[in-house]
């Protein structure tokens, strides 16, 4: 399968994926309101006991490193910020939906894939912090990094043989995986990811990251820094071989990307030890789903 045929197959697959819980939609809706209050979010999350339990578990995990146990969601929202809790709720909901369907024939090893994704999320968050992005927005970087390759999941599960052909093309021709996908499948994981984002009606920031993290210079929208940051973090994860998402020959980010972010590769390398440590803590996300 390739091209449109593949697209249709993936659309069918995504249709059958468990949808995000309705509570997540409401969370997104509330957080889009400029004057959203912690209690509004609290009400929505509290209505979904599974979501609530996961959020509370995350908040009290080592990932956030709070000194004392937080038992009230409102308190957590006040401490961490609306945006953080929103992203946290979103992450756990998306991971919960996407990870339900495993195919034993899957080409990519899911452990490696999610480790890679965590690394990109954590690195993106650290880069945001390094660049002075506001604390409540940093979690968006984590969320977008975590889900940047989400399009690989349906490819991997629905069309493993074809996806293997793409991996083979990448390996044989020493081209990046996304290029190999374009050649072998006429359809990339960025395209597939966009299908999911649309199906789940997620926000524009994650949509842009999923669609443009391999073609940053083509991106003209408002989330440039986010897209660029995730691309650099992705490159870092590939080069350092933290996890593996099938891209053995990653494309070097163009100089414009570094320039726009105002960071250098050396700075990124310096973050490695912290990133590795935090990945361990962030693994709690994977355990929840």
């Amino acid at each position: 399968m390739k091209g449109d045929q593949l697209r249709r197959a993936l659309e069918g697959y995504i249709d059958k994926m468990p949808p995000l819980p309705t509570s997540v939609g409401k969370v997104l809706e509330i957080c889009q309101k400029p004057n959203a209050q912690p209690n509004d979010l609290n009400k929505v999350i509290s209505l979904d006991p599974v979501l609530l339990a996961r959020v509370m578990k995350l908040i009290n995990s080592a990932y956030y490193g709070l000194t004392q146990e937080v038992t009230s969601l409102v308190r957590a929202i006040i401490m961490l910020g609306l945006n953080t809790v929103k992203n946290l709720a979103l992450s756990t909901a998306v991971l919960g939906s996407i990870n339900t369907s495993h195919t034993k024939n899957a080409v990519l090893n899911l452990d490696g894939f999610w480790l890679h994704s965590l690394c990109v999320g954590v690195m993106a968050k650290h880069l945001a912090r390094l660049r002075g992005v506001a604390a409540q927005d940093q979690e968006t970087y984590f969320f977008c990094g975590l889900l940047h390759d989400i399009g690989k999941v349906p490819l991997n599960n629905r069309a493993p043989e074809d996806y293997l052909t793409a991996l083979q093309a990448s390996s044989e021709r020493r081209i990046s995986l996304v290029q190999a996908e374009a050649v072998a499948l006429e359809f990339t994981h960025c395209d597939a990811g966009s299908l999911i984002i649309d199906a789940w009606k997620l926000s524009d920031d994650i949509k842009d990251v999923v669609a443009f993290h391999h073609t940053p210079l083509e991106y003209q929208g408002a989330n440039k820094e986010l897209v660029f940051t995730v691309m650099v973090a992705d490159y870092f994860a590939n080069i350092m071989e933290i996890g593996f998402s099938g891209n053995r020959f990653p494309t070097t980010p163009p100089a414009e990307v570094y320039r726009a972010l105002g960071i250098t590769w050396l700075q990124i390398e310096d973050l490695e030890p912290q990133v590795r440590q935090e990945i361990e803590r962030a693994k709690v996300f994977l355990k929840l789903s």
């Binding site: 034993k104 080409v107 293997l164 083979q168």
Partner: protein, 814 residues
């Protein structure tokens, strides 16, 4: 809580546990713990409950709590040991069991569990001691026999293993695991009838057991009942269409009974069910290679190694394939990846050495050779490869040095010695060459290759008399062969003539390339074996629960009395059951052994009847050396091995390969055991497609040593055809004619490209020359008359041959 109340709760909890009402048992135990959270019995019960539910880490916690008040509870220590083992925490398991043993040295169960841990830690001697001690205390435990037997088996002591299993069966005649393992031993010892009985008995005890069914199928196949085996596998697949082992084994049976298409479908289906199934990949790869589908092979392997980059066997095979298909860079990458994980993989090292030679980096090859020598001084094949490379490059001095290194480790390799003699001759050191050749002749006076080389030496040294004597000797040897062999030799003789025109270099190159190719094949061979192994996919870790349900002895409930001591024992038993499952793993070891054995078995028949697959089309068939006008001494060739006489080809048939006795492929004079392993197919080859034909013919070309006699016959004119006088020994000259006609006809079945190849290599011309030789005419200058491939009238040939024979008879009479 009053004592009565506690006793009542505990009793009810135990009863619930016994009747597998886990929820009730747990809630009752917890009720006790609410009052006293260190109640040892309640903690033990909970621990056992979790153990049974395959929650070992929770179980361990409760057993430790039980120890808080009664630290000398040997049962708790024992159970901790069992649970830690199932968690893979061997040192902790060992420690706990040692404690249990100290507290209760006469407990057979503890000793048994200790044996299991020691065994898993690889301390086999200690494990044997523990099992034996356990058997002294309790000679009735079938599992102890079983686990002890698998140790013997893994150590290759089949007799002891068999005895042990049989002792176990005396105590438990229907134990399916013991029966199964006994069957494996029988299979291993090639006592197939008994193996079959054992597997069948095992299946009675455990109907539908996949491992047993698989092995039964394999045994049936080995017993020469492929249809029964196929039926069995088919049934298995019917029951479970996603059974990759059965599919794979079915593919093997198909393959070995010549049904390549069905075999391919079976392997492909196995891979569809489980794309990560390495054995099916290797089997399918072998099949592709046999059918000359090198590209599909490459595709298959490269896809698989993306899925399973850590399967080093496949990676190595892929590297070899890539090396042959001229992608040395990727091959190097794969090899380095293999070597990164297995720095001592000699096969990979040798391949890497060859890669460096192929990419003209002999200095790196040298380094690899040094590394190999460090690992295993007897592994010198790379030196042979390097010698050939040097010969090819015209560096005779280097070649001599490398050959000497090779011979240092393998002083008896006659092919290498012949090559060395040849090199000496090239270096103008006839005395050294002669020394070697004389010795070789002493060792094997019948070796015509040696005789030929000696004759040539004499001839070049001007000692025509000795040369003639040697020629006589060669013909003597030939004369003893059967009529068909004679025909073979005749063909060789003719080719040897032509070969005199070949440069040594060209041949060496071919030899080297062929060697490379051969190098690629060992894995293929292994693959075939692997498949066979396949059959014994052990049942994967049966869960604790399963174990219980099946053969399990008394469950905790049985212990069920409130008496805690009993409980302990019972737990042991339950735990033990888990251990029992262990038994199966040993089979894996067994698998390997079987492979080895199979390899050995295959080797011998191989030499005789197996045709080498020529899997890599990209290589020019080495058999047709480019002809060169200059006379060159033919390279020493290995003497063709005596072959079982093939039925004389009477009528031209489309499938020629069989009639020809096959000499060992001499191209790899250094053919080492590894190479031999290459010739994989123990099975009767399916009728080869016509294209294979040309390949067959070439093989004979390698036998030219025989031909060396020719020059000897007429020493004055070495270039001239030899006197065919010895042909008189042919008992039926018409066979010659038949052969010629046969070959002629055969060639008409060749596909166009092969035909072109044939003609390009002047094979027809050579044949014509032989005919001419036989008829006493002077051979036409090369290239003058292409042999009419289809045109020649067999009658004409026959007449010519008859004339030769007559003439020779006259001469002899004179």
């Amino acid at each position: 809580m009053s004592d009565n109340r506690r006793t009542d709760l505990l009793h009810r909890a135990l009863t619930a546990y016994r009747s597998h009402d886990d929820d009730l048992a747990e809630s009752l135990a917890r009720e006790i713990l609410e009052t006293d959270d260190r109640d040892p019995e309640a903690q033990m019960l909970l621990g056992s409950l979790y153990g049974r539910q395959s929650k070992p880490s929770q179980a361990v916690t409760h057993f430790y709590r039980a120890l808080e008040r009664s630290p000398d509870n040997s049962e708790a220590w024992n159970n901790i040991g069992v649970m830690c083992r199932s968690l893979g925490q061997m040192p902790q398991a060992l420690e706990a069991l040692e404690k249990a043993k100290k507290l209760e040295p006469k407990n057979a169960g503890v000793l048994y569990n200790l044996g299991n841990v020691l065994k898993q830690m690889g301390r086999l001697t200690d494990a044997v001691a523990a099992y034996e001690a356990s058997l002294v205390l309790n000679p009735k435990n079938a599992y102890t026999y079983n686990n002890l037997g698998t140790i013997y088996e893994s150590q290759g002591d089949l007799e002891k293993a068999q005895d042990t299993y049989q002792q176990g069966l005396e105590n438990d005649p229907n134990n399916p695991t013991l029966r199964y393992n006994l069957g494996v031993v029988y299979q291993h010892r090639n006592e197939l009838r008994l193996a079959r009985q054992s597997f069948e008995a095992s299946l009675k005890g455990r109907p539908g057991w996949k491992a047993g069914l698989n092995n039964l199928g394999v045994t049936l196949h080995k017993m020469g009942q492929p249809e029964e085996a196929l039926n069995l596998f088919r049934e298995m697949i019917q029951d479970d269409p996603e059974n990759p082992e059965a599919l794979n084994n079915m593919g093997i049976v198909y393959q070995e009974t010549g049904r390549a298409k069905e075999a391919e479908a079976s392997f492909a289906q196995a891979l569809k069910v489980n794309p990560r199934y390495g054995k099916a990949v290797l089997n399918l790869d072998t099949l592709y290679n046999k059918e000359g589908k090198g590209d599909r092979s490459l595709d298959l392997l490269s896809r698989y190694s993306l899925l399973e980059p850590d399967n080093l066997a496949v990676r190595l095979q892929l590297a070899k394939l890539r090396l042959f298909q001229n992608s040395p860079e990727k091959a190097e990458e794969d090899l380095l990846a293999v070597l990164a994980k297995q720095p001592d993989n000699l096969d990979a090292l040798r391949t890497l050495g060859n890669l460096y030679l192929k990419t003209k980096r002999p200095y790196l090859a040298q380094k690899v050779a040094d590394r190999i020598e460090k690992k295993d001084p007897n592994s010198v094949d790379l030196h042979m490869d390097m010698a050939l490379y040097a010969m090819h490059e015209g560096e005779t001095g280097t070649a001599v040095e490398e050959m000497k290194l090779y011979l240092k480790a393998k002083p008896n390799d006659s092919n290498a010695r012949l090559l060395l003699a040849n090199l000496y001759q090239k270096q103008n050191r006839p005395d050294d060459a002669r020394k070697i050749l004389d010795k070789l002749r002493l060792e094997d006076p019948q070796n015509t290759a040696v005789l030929g080389a000696l004759a040539r030496l004499h001839q070049e040294g001007g000692d025509q008399k000795s040369a003639l004597e040697l020629a006589d000797a060669i013909l003597q040897v030939q004369g003893k062969n059967s009529a068909e062999d004679e025909l073979e030799l005749m063909m060789e003789t003719l080719e040897m003539y032509e070969k005199s025109a070949d440069t040594l270099g060209a041949e060496l190159q071919e030899t080297w390339q062929r060697n490379l190719r051969t190098l690629a094949e060992p894995l293929i061979e292994e693959a075939v074996e692997v498949e066979t192994i396949e059959e014994q996919p052990l049942v994967e870790e049966p869960s604790w629960m399963q174990m219980k349900g099946e053969t399990e002895p008394p469950s905790l409930l049985d212990l069920g009395d409130l008496n805690p001591a009993i409980m302990v024992d019972e737990e042991e038993q339950t735990l033990r059951m888990t251990e029992e499952e262990e038994i199966l793993p040993p089979d894996e070891t067994w698998d390997e052994e079987i492979l080895k054995k199979e390899k050995e078995e295959k080797r011998e028949p191989k030499k005789k009847k197996k045709k080498k697959p020529e899997p890599y089309p990209p290589y020019p068939p080495p058999y047709y050396p480019p002809q060169q006008p200059a006379y060159q001494p033919p390279p020493p060739v290995r003497q063709p091995e005596p072959e079982p006489p093939a039925p004389p080809p009477v009528q031209p048939q489309p499938l020629p390969p069989k009639p020809r006795p096959r000499p060992l492929p001499p191209p790899e004079p250094w053919s080492v055991p590894a190479f031999e392993a290459l010739a994989p197919d123990p099975e009767p080859e399916p009728a080869p497609p016509p294209p294979e034909e040309p390949e067959e013919l070439p093989m004979q070309e390698w036998e030219p040593p025989v031909e060396e006699e020719e020059p000897l016959e007429e020493p004055e004119e070495p270039e001239e055809e030899p006197e065919p006088s010895k042909l008189l020994t042919l008992d039926d000259p018409s066979k010659i004619v038949d052969l010629m006609g046969y070959l002629d006809t055969l060639s008409s079945y060749l596909p166009v490209e092969k035909l072109e190849e044939l003609q390009a290599d002047q094979i027809p011309l050579k044949m014509e020359r032989i005919k001419n030789t036989l008829s006493g005419t002077v051979s036409p200058p090369p290239g003058a008359t292409p042999w009419p491939v289809k045109g020649e009238n067999p009658l004409t040939t026959r007449a010519k041959l008859q004339a030769i024979l007559d003439r020779l008879k006259d001469k002899l009479a004179e």
